[in-house]
C-alpha cells in the first residue's frame, strides 16, 4: 500500500563534509497522521525535515509522496513543486509584507481578500490582518507562519521545533490549538522536536531519532512504555534499570516477577519508570512487595519523587501523587504497578 503513504523515506543519507547528519533514515508516514521526529539536538532531525522539504538533496536514498518520487537517484523535485508546507523554527515571515500579505503571498496571484480572511480566521488572527509582522507576539507570529503554510492546501506540512520559541505557559495551549487546526484541515504533519512531552502529547506516531537514524517508531504509548533499547528508554524519561533473570514464562528481578513476553533467556534488564513503582506502609494482600527505606523526597506539587533504598542496597526512584506525603526514614513496601519492559542484556 505504498500509495497510501503521505511521505515515505527509504535509506536517506546526507553528509556535510565529514559529518554524517542523516545516516540511513527510513520512515513511512500515513495520510492524515501526525508524526513527531524526536531526538536530541544535532541528531539530524532538522536535516531530515529539510530533505523532505527539498531544501537539501540527499546523498543517497529516496523520498516519495503518495507514490510520486520526490528525490531519488537521478530524480529531484524542487521544493516549489512538492506541495509540502513548512513552518520554520524562527517562523521566517516576510518582513516586507503585513500579516495578510504573508498569507496572500502563499495563496498566489489572484487570491481574493475573502480567501485571505478565511485562512486568517482559521488560525484566529482575523483581527490583526493589517499589522506588521514585527509587531506580533511570538505566539501570533507562529500562527501567521502556520496560516501561511496551510494556505495553499499542501498535502503535508513540516514543522521545525514549532513550539520551542514560546513561553512555557503558552506552549501547551498553542500546541493544542495547532493540533486542532491540523486535524480540522486533515493535513498530514511531520514535526521535529527535542521535547519528549511535546512529542508524546501531540503526535499519533513518534519516531525517535539518534545520530541520523531512527531508533524506534511507534505510538506514544509504545515508545514510552516499551522502549526498543536503553537509549530510547532514557531519552524519553526517567528510568530505572534492574538486573533480572528470564526463565520459563516469567522474568524475575529484585522487585518481583513479570511475564516473559519476549521469550528471553538468561540475563536480562528490567526497565521500569518511576511512576510504575507503587508503595505502601503495609504488605498488600494480593501481590509480592519488597521492603524499602525512603531516603529522600522531592515535592513537585502534583507529584513527588521518592528515592528508596532496597535491602540489597540498590536505590530506585518512585514517583507518586503529591499526597499523601512520604518522608525520609519511612519504612515502606514497594512493588511494580504498571508497564515494565524487559530487554536482553547488551
Amino acid at each position: 500500500m505504498e500509495a497510501m503513504d503521505a511521505i515515505s523515506c527509504q535509506g536517506l543519507h546526507k553528509s556535510f563534509g565529514d559529518v554524517r547528519a542523516v545516516d540511513g533514515f527510513s520512515l513511512r508516514v500515513e495520510v492524515g497522521t501526525s508524526v513527531a521526529l524526536l531526538g536530541p539536538s544535532g541528531c539530524g532531525k532538522t536535516t531530515t525535515l529539510r530533505l523532505i522539504a527539498g531544501f537539501e538533496r540527499p546523498d543517497s536514498g529516496t523520498i516519495a509522496a503518495g507514490g510520486r518520487t520526490l528525490a531519488g537517484p537521478g530524480d529531484f523535485v524542487p521544493p516549489e513543486k512538492r506541495r509540502i508546507g513548512v513552518v520554520f523554527q524562527d517562523y521566517a515571515l516576510f518582513p516586507h509584507y503585513d500579516v495578510a500579505g504573508n498569507v496572500a503571498y502563499a495563496l498566489g496571484r489572484g487570491a481574493g481578500e475573502k480567501r485571505v480572511r478565511e485562512v486568517l480566521d482559521l488560525v484566529g488572527l482575523g483581527t490583526v490582518a493589517d499589522r506588521s509582522v514585527d509587531e506580533l507576539s511570538g505566539g501570533q507570529q507562529q500562527r501567521v507562519a502556520l496560516a501561511r503554510a496551510l494556505a495553499p492546501a499542501p498535502d503535508v506540512i513540516l514543522l521545525d521545533e514549532p513550539f520551542s520559541n514560546l513561553d512555557a505557559s503558552l506552549r501547551a495551549k498553542v500546541r493544542d490549538e495547532v493540533r486542532g487546526i491540523l486535524d480540522a484541515q486533515g493535513v498530514t504533519s511531520i514535526f521535529v522536536t527535542h521535547d519528549q512531552e511535546e512529542a508524546l502529547s501531540v503526535a499519533d506516531t513518534v519516531a525517535v531519532v539518534n545520530e541520523g537514524r531512527i531508533e524506534q517508531v511507534g505510538t506514544p504509548e509504545e515508545v514510552y512504555s516499551r522502549p526498543a533499547n536503553r537509549w530510547v528508554a532514557g531519552f524519553l524519561g526517567e528510568i530505572e534499570v534492574l538486573p533480572g533473570t528470564a526463565g520459563n514464562g516469567t522474568v524475575s528481578c529484585e522487585l518481583g516477577e513479570l511475564p516473559n513476553r519476549g521469550g528471553l533467556h538468561g540475563e536480562v534488564d528490567v526497565l521500569v519508570r518511576p511512576e510504575s513503582l507503587a508503595i505502601d506502609t503495609t504488605q498488600p494482600s494480593d501481590r509480592h512487595a519488597v521492603p524499602a527505606l525512603v531516603v529522600s523526597r522531592r515535592f513537585y506539587g502534583h507529584d513527588q519523587m521518592l528515592e528508596l533504598r532496597l535491602d540489597s542496597g540498590r536505590t530506585v526512584r518512585a514517583r507518586r501523587l503529591g499526597f499523601p506525603a512520604w518522608h525520609p526514614g519511612d519504612r515502606v513496601r514497594v512493588w511494580i504497578d504498571g508497564p515494565a519492559d524487559v530487554l536482553a542484556r547488551d
Binding site: E80, D90, G138
Partner: protein, 458 residues
C-alpha cells in the same frame, strides 16, 4: 592613518548610537557629512585656512604670531585624508552597532562585567567586520587619492603617474608606475580576504526586536560633546567656512555662472548614470556572492572589488589605452567615463547591498520556495524587495563618490566636458582659491541629498 580614522570613527559611532549625548540626531548627520567633502576641496580649504599666509595667519598676526608652520606635505596630507575618510569607517560601524542584539551585552553585564569591559569583550569583537570593511575602504581610498596629495604637494604614486602622463607624455613610465600601485592594492585586498570571516548577522530569536536603552554619559557628557564638536569643526565647519569666505570674496569679482551651471549639469548626468548602473549591477552580484558560495561567485565578487582597488588614475589610464587601441569609437565619450565610474565604484554598491542581504535569513527564501515559487520568482518577490533599500543606499553612495571623482574625469572626460570636480581642481591647483569656492559649494550641496538618503535610512 587608518588607525587614526578608526580611533575617530568607533567612539563617534558609539556616542551617536548608544548614548544620551545631547543633540544626538544633529551629531549623527554632522559627523557623517565630511564624506561629501572631496579630499581636494578639504585639502584646499585646510591649506588656505591653516597654512602659511592662510586665513588663520591673518587672524593671528595682530596677536603677534609671526608665521604658522607649513602644513603642506605629509602632515597636511595625513590630516586631510584622516578628516575626510573617517566616515567610511563610521557608517558601517554605526550600522553594525544598531544591529547588535542588546541582550548579549545585558547578559555580559549580568555576569558582573563593567561597561568598559563589556564594550571590549562583547561589542568590539562584533564590530570587527564593520571596522575591517571601513578600514579597507580607507586604505584603498588613501592609496588611490590624487586630489589631496596633489594640492598638499605630497609626492605619491598617483601624482607621479599623473605628472608623467600629462607633463611628459611618458606613457610607458606612467603605466609601469600604475602597475606597481595596482599590485600594492591587490596585496591589501588579498590580506583583507584572508582575515574576513563569514558574516551572517541576522537575529534568530523571534518576537519583537527590542531597542537598547541609551547609556547615560554622566560627567563624560562635556568631553564627549567637545570630541564631536572638534571633529565636526575641523572636518566640516572649517572647510565650509573657508569656502563661504572665498565665495564672498569672489562674488565681488567675476563669477563664471554659465561655466558652473554647465559643469553642474555634467556632474549630475555622469554620476547619476553611474549610480543607476552600479545599483542595478550590485543586486545580482551580492546575491551570487552570498547565496551561491563557490569559486565562480567568489571570483565575481573579487573582480568587482578589484575595480575599487585600482585607483581612478590607473583605471583611467587603462581605459585610455583601451580607447585608443581597441574601442576607438568610445574614446573620450561620455559612455567611457560612465563605464570608468561603474568599474571604480561598483564595489561600494555591492558592499552595501551585500550587507543588506546578510541580514535576510535564508529561511525566508526557503519559505517562499515551499509556497510554490520558483527560485527566480523568489528572487523577484522576496530577495529583491528586501535588499532594495541596500541597493538604493549603494547607488547613493556611488553617486556621492562619483560626483567628486577627479583623476579619471581629468583623463577620460570628452574634450571641453568640464565637471564641478575638474573646475575646482583647475582653479585650486594654480592657487585661484576664489574661483574654486563657488563650484565647491555647489558640489557640496549636490552631495547633501544622497547623503541625507543614506543617513535618514538609519
Amino acid at each position: 592613518m587608518t588607525a587614526a580614522t578608526i580611533a575617530i570613527a568607533v567612539p563617534l559611532a558609539w556616542l551617536t548610537v548608544r548614548t544620551d549625548l545631547p543633540g544626538r540626531r544633529l551629531w549623527t548627520v554632522a559627523t557623517a557629512l565630511p564624506l561629501v567633502i572631496p579630499s581636494y576641496i578639504g585639502a584646499y580649504a585646510l591649506l588656505s585656512a591653516l597654512g602659511p599666509s592662510g586665513l588663520a595667519q591673518d587672524l593671528l598676526e595682530p596677536l603677534g604670531v609671526g608665521r604658522l608652520p607649513s602644513i603642506a606635505g605629509f602632515a597636511g596630507a595625513w590630516l586631510t585624508l584622516t578628516l575626510f575618510t573617517y566616515p567610511f569607517v563610521l557608517l558601517p560601524v554605526r550600522a553594525a552597532l544598531k544591529r547588535l542584539d542588546p541582550q548579549l551585552e545585558e547578559a555580559a553585564l549580568g555576569m558582573g562585567r563593567s561597561r568598559a569591559d563589556v564594550f571590549r569583550t562583547v561589542v568590539l569583537p562584533q564590530l570587527v567586520p564593520a571596522i575591517g570593511a571601513g578600514a579597507l575602504l580607507v586604505v584603498l581610498y588613501v592609496l588611490s587619492d590624487f586630489g589631496a596629495v596633489s594640492i598638499m604637494r605630497f609626492e605619491s604614486f598617483t601624482t607621479a603617474i599623473y605628472t608623467l602622463y600629462r607633463a611628459s607624455f611618458d606613457r610607458i613610465g606612467a603605466a609601469s608606475l600604475a602597475m606597481l600601485l595596482a599590485a600594492l592594492m591587490l596585496v591589501v585586498l588579498w590580506l583583507e580576504s584572508r582575515t574576513r570571516r563569514s558574516g551572517a548577522l541576522y537575529r534568530s530569536a523571534p518576537g519583537a526586536a527590542r531597542r537598547p536603552r541609551p547609556v547615560p554619559l554622566g560627567r563624560w557628557r562635556l568631553p564627549a560633546l567637545a570630541f564631536c564638536a572638534s571633529i565636526s569643526t575641523l572636518a566640516l565647519l572649517v572647510p565650509v567656512a573657508v569656502l563661504v569666505y572665498w565665495s564672498l570674496q569672489s562674488v565681488a569679482g567675476e563669477v563664471p555662472w554659465g561655466d558652473i551651471a554647465a559643469a553642474t549639469g555634467h556632474s549630475l548626468l555622469v554620476s547619476g548614470l553611474a549610480a543607476l548602473l552600479a545599483g542595478l549591477c550590485a543586486m545580482p552580484i551580492a546575491v551570487l556572492a552570498v547565496r551561491f558560495r563557490g569559486p565562480f561567485s567568489a571570483l565575481v565578487e573579487r573582480l568587482s572589488y578589484t575595480g575599487h582597488a585600482l585607483p581612478g588614475i590607473v583605471v583611467a589610464l587603462a581605459l585610455v589605452f583601451f580607447g585608443t587601441r581597441v574601442a576607438v569609437g568610445l574614446y573620450q565619450t561620455l559612455a567611457m567615463l560612465v563605464f570608468a565610474f561603474v568599474v571604480l565604484f561598483l564595489p561600494l554598491a555591492v558592499g552595501v547591498t551585500r550587507a543588506a542581504l546578510l541580514q535576510v535569513s535564508p529561511r525566508v527564501e526557503e519559505a517562499a520556495r515551499s509556497l510554490g515559487r520558483s527560485p527566480f520568482a523568489v528572487l523577484r518577490t522576496v530577495t529583491a524587495p528586501l535588499i532594495s533599500s541596500g541597493a538604493v543606499a549603494g547607488a547613493a553612495l556611488v553617486f556621492l563618490t562619483a560626483v567628486k571623482e577627479l583623476p579619471a574625469t581629468l583623463i577620460l572626460a570628452p574634450i571641453g566636458f568640464e565637471t564641478l570636480a575638474t573646475e575646482i581642481w583647475k582653479a585650486t591647483s594654480v592657487g585661484f582659491f576664489e574661483r574654486g569656492a563657488v563650484p565647491s559649494l555647489v558640489l557640496l550641496a549636490i552631495s547633501a541629498l544622497p547623503l541625507y538618503l543614506l543617513t535618514a535610512r538609519d
